[in-house]
Symmetry: C2
Amino acid sequence: MKTGSITLTNIGQLVTNDPERDGLLGIVEDAAVAIEDGRITWVGDAADVPEAAITQDCDGQAVLPGFVDPHTHLVFAGDRAGEFARRLRGESYEQIMAAGGGIQSTVQATRAATLGELTDAALGRVRRLQAAGTTTVEIKSGYGLDLENEKRLLAVAAAAGSAVALDVVPTFLGAHTVPEEFAGAADDYVDYLTEVVLPECAPLARFCDVFCDEGAFTVDQSRRVLEAGKQHGLSPRLHANQLAPSGGAQLAAEVGAISADHLDHIDDDDIAALRASGTVAVLLPGVSFSLRTPQPRGPDLWEAGVTVALGTDCNPGTANIETMPFVVALACLEMGLTPEQAVWSATRGGARALGLEDRGQVTVGARGDLVVLREASYVHLAYRPDFPSVRTVIKRGLVTAG
Amino acid sequence: MKTGSITLTNIGQLVTNDPERDGLLGIVEDAAVAIEDGRITWVGDAADVPEAAITQDCDGQAVLPGFVDPHTHLVFAGDRAGEFARRLRGESYEQIMAAGGGIQSTVQATRAATLGELTDAALGRVRRLQAAGTTTVEIKSGYGLDLENEKRLLAVAAAAGSAVALDVVPTFLGAHTVPEEFAGAADDYVDYLTEVVLPECAPLARFCDVFCDEGAFTVDQSRRVLEAGKQHGLSPRLHANQLAPSGGAQLAAEVGAISADHLDHIDDDDIAALRASGTVAVLLPGVSFSLRTPQPRGPDLWEAGVTVALGTDCNPGTANIETMPFVVALACLEMGLTPEQAVWSATRGGARALGLEDRGQVTVGARGDLVVLREASYVHLAYRPDFPSVRTVIKRGLVTAG
C-alpha cells in the first residue's frame, strides 16, 4: 500500500491514547502531528512543529487516531429489511423464519450473487465506513459455508480493502451457522470445515472465529474449530454469550482467544476469566440497538480492567450499521460508557482486539492513520449522533477521504 | 416561494398516506407522481403516467411525502458538549449547573451572538435537515427571552427558511424559561411577556408555545401566556409533561392546543383528554435517547387513537439532532412504533401538528413535497440508522437537495 507524508497543524484537541500522557485519551491541546512515509514521526505543541512540505490546517478542530473496527460481516448480498420490519411489528422468531428470514436467507443470496455483485456491495460499504473515519477493519467470511464460497468471501474482503486504501484484517468464520445441506448434522459440518474448508481458506485469513452459542455451535464443536484453525496458523477469536450464557467467554479464556465478542449474557466469573486471560471484550452496541435487547455490561467490563473494544458488527440481519462515530454514540447513550471510554475502545481498543500494536494511538512510530473532525472535541461524536463529524481521513499519511 | 413542475417515474414503492388507499401508508407499487406549479396533479400506476416535460426516474426506489418536523429550537448559538459529557460521566444536574451548563448558557450565547452568526448557524442546520428530507419545519424562539432577542430569533428563523426554499412555521416561545434578570419572579416575567413581548412578536409567529412543567412555568402561568397569545392571533401548543406529571397535557386539552409535545410523564387520563380534544401528541425520541431516560408511551397513544407526530426537538441541550430519518429509526428502535406508524407520524402526523392539511400526503391537490430514497422501502429508514437514505428532495415541484 502506498504511503505519504503530511503534517497536521492547528489541531485544537489531539487524542493520542498515549499512556505516557495524562488521562485515558492522552489529550494534547494546540497540537501538531508529522507523518513521514506513512509513520508518525513527531507529536507535540503546534508552536514547535517542524517545517514540512505538505501541511493540513485543522482549523482548531479535534484530531483522533483512525477508528479500528474489529468485527464486521460486510461481504454479503441481499437485504433483510422485511425481517426487520416483521420484528418491529411484533412477529415471533418462528414467524420470521417461516417467512424466509434469518441468516440462511443471506447465505442463499450471497451464494447466488456474482463476484462482481458481491464486490460492488462490499465496496460501497467500505467507502462509507472509510469516509466516516475507519482506517482498519476486520471482515469475516461466514455467509458462504462451503469451500468455494468461503474462499470467495475472503477474496472479496481483500479486494475491497485494497481498492480504497483501507487495511482489511480477514477472519475465517466458516462456523457461523450450520448450512442447510448439513441440517441436523452439525458435527459432520465441523468435520467438513476442519478437514476440507479450513486448509484452503487459512492462507487468506489471519483469524479463525466461531459462533459459539445456543442454537449455533457448542463449546466442544467451537473448540475443535478453533484448535484446527491454530494448526493452520490462524489465531482464535469468537462470538461468545450473545444469545445465552453458553460458555463461550470461558472458552475464549481457555484457548487464549485474542477477543470474545458480543458478551450480552455474562456473569462476574466470565468477566474475571476474560481479565485473567487478557482477552479483549469486543462490544457491539448496534446489535442491541437494532434488536431492542439490553446492552452488554460495558461499564462493568471497564471497571474490572478488561480491555474493551467497540465494533459495528456490520451485517444484514442484526446490525445494518457501518460507521464507527455512530457506534461511539450508541456506546455512550445506550451502553453507558463515558465518551473517553468509548473513543478509546473505538480506536486503541479495536487495535488491541486485532493484535495491531502499531495503531490506534498517536505516538512516534505508529501508523499515520488519523481523522480530523468538523468539531472541537471528541465528545461531539456522541453529542451529535446524526451529524457527519469526520471531515478528513488520513491513512498512512495519505488523504483518503473527506 | 418559487414552484416547479416535475413528474417522478419508476417509483418502486410510493407512500401516499392517502386514507382512501389500503393500509396506514396507502402504498402504491410501480407508481408515478406528477407535480405542476408546485401541486400534485396526478398519482397512479407508472404505466399510465401522463407525458411530461421534466421527469425524474426514481430507479425503482421508494418515494415518500417530505418530512414535516413540528418541533425544533434550531436558532441558537453556542455549544453544550461539555455539559453532555459531564452527564455521561455521571455528574448531577446541580454539578452541571454549577459548571455553567443548562439552558441559561444557551440564552447567554444566543444573546451575545451577532445576527450574522445566528443566521449562519441556523442556515447550516436547515441545509442539513433539508438534505435529509425535511420540507417543512417548525422553529421556536425561546433563547432570547426579551423583546429584542425574541424578535431577532423569529426573524432569523424566517430568513433561514427562505434562503433554502424550506417552509418554516414560526412559534413564539418566550415562555421557555425564566431569564436570569427575572430570577425568582416568574409572574413578573409572564406580565412582561404578555404585555411587552407578545404584542410585537405575534406578527412574526403562527403559534404560541409554553414550557409548562416542574421547574418551568405552572399551569396557571402557562394558561395566561397561551390566552394572551390567542388574543394576538397565535394558536396554542405546548411543552407538556416532559419532566413530571405537571398538568400540561390536561391544559393542552382545555385550551384546545393543536399539539402537546414531549409527554414523557402521562397517565391514561391524560391520553383520554388528548384523544377527546383532538390534540396531536408530538413525540421527540431523540430527547430520551440523548438524556438516557425512558421513551414516552408512543404505542399506547397510537392504540388510544391519539394523532401522533414525531419531531427532532433540535436544540443544544437535550437533543442535538437534525434529521427526520434518524428520528424515524429512534421511534421504531427506542420507542417501539412500527415502521408504518413512525413514517406516518414523521410526515402526515407532523403536518397535522402544524395544522397544515395540504401536505404530508401524496394526493391530488397536495403540495409537491416529496423525498426519493436510495432504497426500495421506507423500512430502510429504520433498518439502516447511519445510512443517508434520502437521495433527492423535491419542494413544491423543485429539486432542492440531493
